[in-house]
Amino acid sequence: MKKVYVLIGNYGSGKSELALNFAFKAAERGERTELLDLDMVNTYFRLTERGNMTRMKEIRLVSPNFANSGIETLSLPAEVASAFAMDWDTVIFDVGGDSTGATALGRYHQDFMELEPGALEVLNVVNIRRPLAGTVEKIMHLQEEMEIHSRLKITGMINNTNLAEMTGPDELRDGYEIIREVSERTGVPVKYTAGRTALLEQFLAEGHDPKYIGQPLPIDIYMRRDWNSWINSLAEKRPQQLEYL
């Protein structure tokens, strides 16, 4: 059965990173995989910049980007229909941040509703270290707004609490406590807890309630922002220098 994962969440919660991880893991399992970049909100640091990586792994990438130029036409590409029409094993939607970004999904309401029962997972990626997702109330508010705008019901949460390069053991633990309360109050289950392998293992060893951990999801970092990789696609084009004395 085709599985469709929709990743929504607060700006900067790590949707693109997780989308790449979901896609690469599916491709490694030999599944026919399509990855859709529906981020219509932000043109910096998007999944589309990793187009070469996805091609190497034989993942089909659908992007709103115009001619790989950083410019968007602010229209959804017609190829999005392929997610529903074609015979994939795994389809992953990476959506823009907040309810603003989630709005793009509303257009496909009918298509989502026509999927087989159980095929659709709408996952709210939560990073409590982001200022607008730092409390139970803020997360619940965001969740409600995103559901209205996307016209989809959130089926699960992902604890992806991180501070980028400075992530430590406190992040997943603090995320766990807050997300657990959100889950208790809303009934939305925690489906995954994501993190770099070492940190994730450390967190799992602490013996928290598995009900609020879900499936552990060790991730690799592909969207790394070290200011030499994010724009690497242009690097080999033309070395150009002037010499002064």
Partner: protein, 359 residues
């Protein structure tokens, strides 16, 4: 205090509010639209005013008006929008109005593109508007540094009665980094401290105490006196406000000069080159006006330094200041890209290795 993961734009906007900014006037333009977006939600919460002006020209003139009352006022834009503001910036400088202007640089010239760039260095530090004026200009290299500079920017602007300019490349505003946000400053306009501010005057008040905000001096002599006064202030700012960073320069044989995000890429290159035994360091100006010439000379004009590599995302705009400061003391090489193409670690490493081999 706990760290939060913040986007540069949000962090800069929040820091401005915590530093006492209560008026924001601006107009959306990528890659800084998140700043007005954040301000539009946040200003009402602190009793401030967010106003989306009809244009950048209007926004900077609103800054002129509001800053004239002594309030802490901020505007933000990106390159083409900052070009539009230049007339108003010159007026603010002429009328000696403290305020903060953010330029989140994108590719140019003209409309260019919406990706990050460093192409407005000249416009920022050599004066984009008319007349003899300067802006206290800072080029942050991380989100935390942008916050830290914002926390003293208004005080500096008020001390010298000069506008402050943030020269941040698009990456600084768009990237997310863990940051610590300082506490809110309790700022209120104090007419004693700002006797020039227009805080209200009625008939019967002492006419000598009437605030006048003005940049026009019709007769030759008074304009000359006004300019002499401005130049004295700039001399004081030059003497007191230079900021820079030295990174692994102590034993360095090659020094990279760079500002903003490029300096971070340079640091990665330096670390990797040092693993290969090549002694490289970085001199990074944080204030680009006043440019830290003396500190740069002190770092670079040492026996063991064989050469300087200046790296920028423009055609070598800061290079002129590097050359001015070094006065031919060391060989200088330039490596840069135009528009919004950022150099990679490997490119910088290759340039240093070529210098080492005498190529």
């Amino acid at each position: 205090m706990a760290l939060t993961l913040m986007k540069g734009s949000e962090a800069i906007a929040e820091a401005a509010i915590r530093a006492g900014a209560r008026f924001f006037f601006g107009y959306p333009i990528t890659p800084q639209t998140e700043i007005p977006e954040y301000m539009s939600a946040r200003m009402p919460e602190v009793g401030g005013c967010f106003l989306q002006a009809e244009s950048e020209v209007a926004a900077i003139n609103m800054v002129y008006g509001a800053a004239g009352t002594g309030a802490r006022v901020i505007t933000s834009s990106s390159s083409p929008g900052v070009s539009l503001k230049q007339e108003g910036i010159s007026y603010c400088a002429g009328a000696q109005l403290p305020c903060v202007i953010l330029n989140v640089m994108r590719g140019g010239p003209g409309l260019g593109n919406i990706q990050a760039s460093q192409g407005d260095y000249m416009q920022g530090v050599k004066g984009g508007g008319n007349g003899d004026y300067h802006l206290l200009t800072y080029a942050p290299s991380s989100v935390q540094e942008a916050i830290d500079i914002m926390m003293f920017a208004f005080e500096k602007a008020e001390k010298y009665r000069m506008p402050v300019l943030f020269l941040a490349d698009g990456i600084i505003a768009q990237m997310m980094e863990p940051v610590e946000m300082p506490e809110m400053v309790d700022y209120k306009v104090d007419p004693e401290k700002k006797p020039w501010a227009c805080t209200g005057w009625k008939p019967g008040d002492d006419p000598a105490k009437r605030g006048v905000i003005n940049s026009i001096y019709i007769d030759t002599e008074s304009l000359s006196i006004h300019n002499e006064h401005l130049q004295a202030i700039y001399a004081e700012a030059r003497a007191n406000e230079q900021m820079w960073e030295n990174y692994k320069t102590e034993d360095a044989e090659y020094i990279i000069t760079a500002f903003g995000t490029v300096a971070r890429i340079a640091k990665t290159a330096i670390d990797e080159l040092r693993e290969q035994g090549v002694k490289v360091g970085l001199f990074r100006p944080i204030s680009v006006w006043p440019y830290p010439y003396d500190a740069m000379r002190e770092t670079i004009c040492r026996e063991q330094v064989k050469g300087v590599l200046d790296v920028e995302v423009n055609e070598g705009q800061m290079l002129e200041d590097v050359k001015l400061g070094l006065e031919g003391a060391k060989p200088i090489r330039f490596f840069g890209h135009y528009g919004s193409e950022f150099p990679t670690t490997d490119e910088i490493k290759n340039e240093i290795l070529k210098m080492k081999e005498g190529k």
